[in-house]
Amino acid sequence: MRSFADVHLGDTIGPVEHTFTTEGVRAFCTLWGQTGESRFTSEEVARREGLPGPIVPGIMSMAVLSRLLTDWADGGSLRLLDVIFRQPVPHHQPLRLVGTVTDLRPEGGQGVVEVDVFLERADGERLVTGKALLAVPLDAG
């Protein structure tokens, strides 16, 4: 269980490596109700739409960023995840999930942690950027 006292401005969350696979994206799309070939699952459709290859749905990128944050908060809860999709997220490329604590404040009997969060390539190019708010207990007891 992470407590507010354990968190400091500038703390880094992650990085955690993540690679989206075409099989994983297909499974997600099926669950999502996106059936048939699309920019998310087909090389041909993606290229027809001017993309270099099939891409990861934005909400799938959000789900893995959420996982990074809630794993780190370890018992805390996500209050907000607000992201911008800056560039297409490719399949089969090692990516990094990373966050930085940018603000801390006690609020309503909990600690609120503000985080800048990124999904980036190995060379540091940021594909998805965002802000998150997490609520954690004020003390571990």
Binding site: W32, I59, L78, R79, L80
Partner: protein, 149 residues
């Protein structure tokens, strides 16, 4: 310089009932498998009960799955060259549990344009509120779409 874009202004701020969605245990588990989620609150019903919850919780971004199934009208009344998902925000307000039935209400929040090197783009912002079967708001989702004109 801002460019005006033709759109259906009567939609702005208007709450539109947008569908009812059931949260199933199988759906939560499949979501977790697809995104590599291993937090036992979302994957182990017994664990969730031991933490004081009635059953499995849905991961915070789970309501995103329902968004593409919302019945929403077309906003722009001009031809569009390309559409992209520009951004999204999820605000979990209360736990969502397996077995919940969520009602969605969606509103057109904003339509604005930007002109850049590649031409004029319209941004369309929708906000959707999910309410459970007890009438409690459980999540808010805001989406921004970019349309190249």
């Amino acid at each position: 310089m801002a460019t005006q874009v033709e759109f259906n202004r009567s939609l702005l701020g208007q709450p539109l009932p947008a569908g009812t969605f059931t949260v199933s245990k199988e759906g939560i588990l499949a979501f977790c498998r697809a995104v590599g989620e291993t937090n036992p609150l979302y994957t182990d019903e017994e664990w969730a009960r031991r933490q004081g919850h009635p059953t499995l919780l849905a991961p915070p971004t789970y309501p995103n799955l329902f968004i593409r199934h919302l019945g929403r009208p077309e906003v722009l009344s001009v031809p569009v060259r390309q559409r992209m998902h520009a951004g999204q925000a999820v605000e979990p307000l209360r736990p969502i549990y397996a077995g919940d039935t969520l009602s969605a209400t969606t509103r057109l929040k904003d339509v604005y344009t930007k002109t850049g090197r590649t031409g004029t783009m319209a941004f369309i912002v929708w906000e959707t509120t999910f309410t459970n079967q007890r009438g409690e708001e459980v999540a808010r989702v805001r989406e921004s779409f970019m349309a190249r004109l």
